[in-house]
């Protein structure tokens, strides 16, 4: 059974600035953030990381996490998001101590095709990335519990199929609670700025409590 979402995302900010390029006049989207208020609990889950070790809620404790949902045979959107998040980490690394950098976790929702290549896949983007996957039952529970979505498409004549999935990045705090959902486009500078601010605010709250 899927537990209905027990929290509401509140649109809090449309940060960023319009950018225009050349004469074209097209502009880049700004980062869109929604935050559950108060920060929402993670669902229960039983998943494994790309090394085959159990992935538990403990792994969220004490650090910020950027969760991205996708599948490894996705050639366009998933690599784009994962390399953007690498740029976010790089930009943050000049502002925060290495142990305060957020961890990036790729939730691979196509276990049949993802599990055999997951380690190599995530390391391609960053050595520190963690890939997690599991049974569809557990993946569904987890993904829906973080306000995400995925669905496997019908296989074509070659047995290949597409996977529709949330393109948002879920921000989990060091308290293992969901603090925000970031929607594409995910301009690295703006995401880095957002996470940096979030860290400071959260640390301040912890001190006053």
């Amino acid at each position: 059974m899927i537990r209905p979402l027990s929290f509401i995302f509140v649109l809090i900010a449309a940060v960023g600035f319009g950018m225009s390029w050349g004469a074209a006049g097209a502009q880049a989207g700004a980062l869109r953030v929604v935050e559950p208020d108060p920060p929402a609990a993670l669902p229960e889950f039983a998943l494994k990381d790309h090394r085959g070790k159990p992935f538990t809620a403990e792994r969220f404790k004490g650090k910020w996490t950027l969760l991205s949902i996708g599948f490894t045979s996705c050639p366009d959107v998933c690599p784009f998001v994962l390399s953007n998040l690498d740029a976010v980490v790089t930009q943050l690394s000049v502002r925060v101590r290495p142990d305060n950098l957020p961890q990036v976790i790729f939730v691979a929702v196509d276990p049949k095709r993802d599990a055999p290549v997951l380690g190599e896949y995530v390391r391609h983007f960053n050595d520190d990335y963690l890939g997690v996957t599991g049974s569809h039952e557990e993946l569904k529970k987890f993904v829906e519990g973080i306000d995400g979505f995925y669905r496997l498409g019908k296989p074509d004549k070659d047995g290949e199929y597409e996977v529709q999935h949330s393109a948002s990045v879920i921000v989990v705090g060091p308290d293992a609670r969901i603090h925000a959902k970031l929607s594409p486009p995910l301009p690295a500078g703006e995401v880095a700025e957002y996470i940096a601010q979030k860290r400071i605010l959260f640390a301040r709250e912890q001190r006053t409590n």
């Binding site: 490894t72 366009d76 953007n84 190599e120 597409e162 486009p185």
Partner: protein
């Protein structure tokens, strides 16, 4: 499901506009190239910005040119890759790409990544329109050439040969360079693509 797209976000950026500000020097380079390729191309339509791009400019008889063709280096073992490029129509008639193929892949398709309620999905497009004097950018998280079933391993610095079929029956051949995402050509019309560009 297939449908055709006229990517207005990109197609509305008319070439002439983006070239006006460029120096004569750059236009000369463009003109020289046009002569070599024996294609009637008004010098004013080639410009410094285009000539300066890393990848070679390919041309078809129908005045459609390609530039900045690249294939992101992908993690090993993946069965699907993507190619990106910018197609420019220097002609006075609208053109459309109706098919694409690569000898290095089992299938190649015109694809569009789209978002619906925050969910990413891909669509197979029957054709992609390029307005007269306009251009269409295939870029991450948007239009892309979907490359399925690589016949051999991918190597950084290698090339992927693409052949585009245009609606006037001509073929545009383009060699796309395999490179790291960090080395990718800058998006032409908008930033925020993770290449470290800043607005203003």
């Amino acid at each position: 499901m297939t449908r055709s797209v006229s990517n207005s976000r990109l197609a509305n950026s008319r070439l002439a506009n983006s070239c006006l500000a460029n120096s004569r020097l750059g236009c000369l380079a463009g003109a020289a190239l046009a002569v070599l390729a024996a294609v009637p191309l008004a010098p004013a339509q080639a410009c410094e910005a285009h000539a300066a791009y890393k990848t070679e400019i390919a041309e078809a008889k129908s005045a459609v040119m390609a530039m900045d063709a690249w294939v992101p280096l992908a993690p090993p073992g993946l069965k699907a890759h993507a190619a990106y490029l910018v197609l420019m129509n220097h002609g006075t008639e609208a053109r459309a790409v109706t098919a694409v193929s690569s000898p290095q892949y089992k299938h190649a398709m015109l694809h569009l990544s789209s978002m619906k309620n925050g969910v990413a999905m891909m669509q197979h497009l029957a054709q992609v329109d390029i307005p007269a004097g306009g251009k269409v950018a295939f870029e991450p998280h948007g239009l892309h050439i979907m490359l399925m079933g690589p016949k051999g391993p991918q190597a950084e610095g290698g090339t992927v040969d693409l052949a585009f079929t245009l609606d006037d029956g001509s073929t545009l051949e383009v060699a796309a360079k395999v490179m790291k995402r960090a080395d990718a050509p800058a998006p032409m019309d908008h930033g925020a693509m993770g290449h470290g560009h800043k607005g203003m």
